[in-house]
Symmetry: C4
Subunit: 131 residues, 4 copies
């Protein structure tokens, strides 16, 4: 398989999302969530994130560009347009891309002394020509 055309899927989902509103330790240990994108293709990826909530309609799309042959580890805490995603709130995300990408989700939780981590590959929706 030629990775020049990009590996992965154009549609991903992450049911678990929750940014703790408090932190312990220095700035780099701030509680946060990261969505990690890998674009192995030779074309820049236009990525759109939609955020789902428990008690309101979805927000978005949030637009992210992932350059050809680049990885972007996006802090969800930094999203502002069209609106910030609130902390201490259950949410979920769906990610769409115009080229195949691979997506992973990580949380650092430093509410208590010493941090905790979780990570999982996002759920790839299968499509014709994807994987």
């Amino acid at each position: 398989m030629d990775t020049n055309e990009g590996i992965g899927s154009r549609l991903w989902a992450i049911p678990e999302g929750y940014m703790p509103g408090s932190s312990t330790g220095p700035d780099e240990m701030k509680s946060h969530e990261t969505i990690c994108f890998l674009n192995t293709s030779n074309k820049d990826a236009k990525v759109e994130i939609t955020a789902y909530f428990a008690d309101r309609e979805p927000a978005g799309p949030y637009e992210v560009e992932v350059g050809a042959r680049r990885t972007v580890h996006l802090w969800v805490n930094d999203l502002e347009d069209p609106e910030p995603i609130p902390t201490d709130t259950d949410y979920a995300t769906v990610i769409r891309s115009n080229v195949p990408i691979v997506v992973q989700h990580t949380r650092l939780d430093s509410r208590q002394a010493a941090n905790a981590l979780l990570s999982t590959m996002a759920y790839p929706v299968r499509e014709a020509g994807g994987s």
Copy 2:
């Protein structure tokens, strides 16, 4: 793929389940397990959870509704009907839905000072028309 029809699978499994019976810290840091559901479809999802154990027949079904275009992060600790799932006990879950959903499982373990986290996408059972 049109997410209006819902992305994911109608059948998921999570072999690992264990709710620690003790906790350290404030209420929000209580040891717990969460099953996170994402329903991207335009139809409310009727979800049924069956719990499996090491030494007895399965319990359930536990009924959960996940509204159209909503996410629900269910605390397993809060399930009561038809019976609570005991803490400090090995269990596993199977999740069925009438529409495709995506499912992720997370544990927060605060038995010792500072919490630990784990998370993994649940196992999607493949079906015709699902992914």
Copy 3:
């Protein structure tokens, strides 16, 4: 899909295995690894685990029975026959079953004060009739 015939795969792999040789805290917080099996079928599952190492031939098979409609969360630390799997040693596992099962792998690491956790679904090898 009828879960009476069992959901999952008959063949799974877990590349990451490592049981820390030291622990902090009470017995229940002992550093350990768990392989979690879920058998939703109506037939007892005969499971065989093979352990792979960095510098020697594989060990096993280790035999485990997972009853019909039961989950078993096996402590790898407790395996003795045909030989214990050493702590502080890189290993990996392949799991075979005569009926479809679902497999997840978890580590609790309490070498330092406060424990850390990791978990991931095992890698399901696709087969005809499985998922």
Copy 4:
């Protein structure tokens, strides 16, 4: 399926990579990332890792051999040829092998007192004859 021919895929991707530049505790608790390879086949695996970054062209390939019926848990921190992968830097990896293998990714983060762990199966790219 005959595991003598190897189980898994020849192409894997891991979007999340980040090696913390500081650590707490003894040497074995050094912050690090591990890529775990399992080669169940009867043929030595020639593995090539390519590292992707946020703001420069990819580095590599890094060559690793995983013997027949062996597992290798590679510390990314130890890679030197063609160039070290810097700490405190977002990166991602693509792994290619001449025989099917299974790949998992783990981080130990000991920047704060007590360590945190994350792990996930890598993303297997589907190919004819693979799984």
